[in-house]
């Protein structure tokens, strides 16, 4: 969670809020923040750390591991209408890459800003070529985009 906390400012600039969820109580969240995370991120965790002790939220999102009684490492990007636009679920031993969350967020925000008239091809980042789906683009994507344009 410290990696997400360290990138909070970037997410805030994109008008995104962060909520973290685990099966620990809010009391334990306080202890973890005050005794460890604050040593990893200046000021500690800047967003709400939700307690889901009964696993109700994790179950609703398909992130609940019944055998271990924990939440899997799920990450959901939810748009301003409350619709899930992206999700990623990892097993516990591997951490996420926040840059990819930021990239996806920017791409979904771009699509939304264009009212769905533009689409973001693989690896898209702000400033890169977008695609404008329509009859003229069918069979002609190669003229405007190819994988070498990802970087």
């Amino acid at each position: 969670m410290s990696a997400v906390a360290a990138n909070y400012e970037t997410l805030q600039k994109l008008d995104a809020e962060v909520i973290s969820v685990s099966v620990d109580s809010h009391f334990v969240h306080k202890m973890w923040n005050d005794h460890e995370l604050v040593k990893m991120v200046e000021g500690g965790v800047p967003f709400p750390m939700v307690a889901d002790q009964a696993g109700n939220i994790g179950r609703a999102y398909g992130c609940w591991d019944e055998n271990q009684g924990i939440e899997l490492r799920g990450r959901f990007i939810i748009d301003p209408d409350g619709v899930i636009q992206a999700m990623e679920v990892l097993t516990p031993p591997v951490g996420r890459k926040i840059d990819e969350t930021v990239r996806q967020l920017q791409a979904f925000q771009h699509v939304r800003a264009t009212g769905g008239k533009e689409a973001c091809p693989a690896g898209w980042q702000p400033g890169k070529t977008t695609l404008k789906p329509g009859p003229d683009l069918v069979g002609n994507v190669w003229k405007v985009w190819n994988p070498s344009m990802e970087d």
Partner: protein
Amino acid sequence: MSNEGASCVRVTSSVGGSESSDTLTQAPQPKEEVKKMGVTVGQKAPDFTAPAYFKGGFTSVKLSDYLGKWVVLCFYPGDFTFV
């Protein structure tokens, strides 16, 4: 800052927009409630209300209060784990 999560009564999370419930006064839920659930992209995110720790205090978080903003919702296995 609200201090509602600080009593000894165990407040837990709830989904579907209902208020947090106090498990000490609530009858056990029927077994069928434990059925496997999940979400898909393009669907509404299930609403929930749950106690939280936030900037030195205890508060209650309701996902639907965030409508109008983008939200990055992150689950993780547990506090004091290593990754």
